[in-house]
Amino acid sequence: MPPIISAMGLTKIYGGIKAVDRIDFEIREGECFGFLGPNGAGKTTTMRMIQCAIPKTSGRLLVKGMEVDERPREIKRILGVVPQENNLDPDFTVLKNLTVYARYFDIPKGEAERRALELLRFVQLYERRDSPVDKLSGGMRRRLMLARALINEPEILVMDEPTTGLDPQARHAIWDKIRALKREGVTVVLTTHYMEEASQLCDRLVIMDLGRIIAEGSPAELIEEHVGSEVVEVDNRPEVLGLIAREGERYEMFGDRIHVLARDPKGFVSKLMGACDLERVAIRRATLEDVFLKLTGRALRD
């Protein structure tokens, strides 16, 4: 089956800034595909090119076989879009936000109403259908954004940081909805800088930094390839560094803690115990966060 979205050498330059720099990716039909990266990595720019909101500078980008700059209307018809920032219509109620949006897709009035109410049940806002949107909490607004993105029954759902700024309950509520949609066969494309979100939801993902894709795979593959199965955490002491150097292990420094990506974590721990007198040694499963920090470094990106 051909990929539902594919990019080849996709590039976006703003002024002199390469926001997206010759990236390639292929998204398969029905999967949940993630773009993980720190602030400024180029995730939003990539999403906005997919949703035909901004033109690309060069390269190719195909959605369902259609070039984004040739057939934006057809592409937008099959896309559901949740942008990074909510843009609900404050002049309307919850329900009216959906029916007005349905009109842009030429959905007839009765059908729009039916879908809107069904979607409001799906995102648990049915009881709030007559509220003005500025009376909604952050989590409710995000769920309404999701409902709005589904009004045209999209084949592809594009979500830019779907849960940033939400509390854990609200975040899990959104995750449940995303999983439900995936079960129905919707292709989900999302960006995030939450590792947990990426590992919970994504079948495959790319890690972006400074406009480039620096790693690609399933969460498990990425962890295995870049970190190994387990990580040893230990206090940052000269003798520990000495041992690491002698063994030639890879490591990352986090202030007064060191994360050692040992080839044989258990063996390394027993050597540690033998060589130094340590109180706080921990061995734990490697996570996507280890991969992420290893690949993107620790400098702040704001």
Binding site: P55, K96, Y101, R103, Y104
Partner: protein, 263 residues
């Protein structure tokens, strides 16, 4: 952009009306308030200026002063309704509410959003002009049925001022910047377009400038012709002026907006 890019023919379809309908739906929510202003405004002006000042002025250009300013009041209201709709109100929708961004994630494009906004601004002009017309005809200050033509005409005038407003909306950095066109363009136009006294009272060069640059001057010429039932040949020139400037600026504003929104 190359100079020709500013006048590229927009890519629009029937979908512009969906943008228009969105604005109509918001308008209908507060319809009573929306009707109050255009209803009270002419009464206020007529009593303050028309009847008050009219007592001293007597006749102007061979008609009672109140009848002289009545069509000008309608024209001013066409200007205000559409210009302010496509500046402050459109800017809030574009910049603060991100309504345009939301709409262009659907099959609509920027060109359609902007043309929809301009057509809505024109409609606001038509609504306000119609309400004022009913008040002024009740006071027998305008001739019927000739004056009924002011209703379709107000849409054209609205289009011109909406397009002017939208050009500014496409380039201003913040909402406060609208003070400049309001003060430097709208206010002088309000005073020097043959509104409260005939254009002929002004020095020749000012008269000429007013006729070359001020859409309100042309709106007043035609409105006064229709309201008094004495439409002259000059009106055709004014109509051509408004139609061409309206179309050119509509196209320009759409291209300026595309540059702003699709970078």
């Amino acid at each position: 952009m190359r100079p020709a890019d500013y006048f590229r023919i927009p890519d629009v379809s029937y979908r512009v009306w969906k943008v228009w309908m969105r604005n109509r739906d918001v308008f209908m929510k507060t319809i009573k308030v929306n009707f109050l202003v255009p209803f009270l405004e002419p009464i206020l002006y007529l009593f303050g200026i028309g009847f008050g000042l009219g007592l001293y002025v007597g006749e102007m250009d061979g008609m009672p002063y109140a009848a002289f300013i009545a069509p000008a009041l309608i024209s001013i209201s066409m200007m205000n309704a559409s210009f302010f709709e496509c500046t402050y109100a459109s800017f809030v929708r574009m910049y603060h509410q991100k309504t345009f961004d939301a709409i262009i994630s659907t099959p609509l494009n920027v060109d359609e959003v902007i043309l929809g906004e301009i057509l809505w601004g024109s409609t606001k002009s038509l609504i306000n002009a119609s309400i004022m017309l009913s008040v002024l005809s009740a006071l027998q200050l305008v001739k019927l049925p000739d004056s009924l033509l002011l209703i379709p005409f107000s849409f054209l005038v609205g289009l011109v001022f909406s397009a002017i407003g939208m050009c500014f909306t496409a380039i201003v950095p913040t909402i406060d910047s609208f003070n400049y066109p309001t003060f430097l363009l709208i206010t002088p136009m309000f005073l020097f377009s043959g509104t409260f006294f005939p254009l002929s009272a002004l020095p020749e060069p000012v008269q000429l400038a007013s006729q070359i640059f001020f859409p309100l001057t042309h709106a007043v010429i035609i409105s006064r012709g229709l309201a008094s039932g004495r439409i002259g040949a000059q009106s055709l020139v004014s109509l051509a002026w408004l139609a061409s400037v309206g179309s050119i600026l509509t196209i320009l504003s759409i291209n300026l907006m595309r540059r702003r929104l699709v970078a």
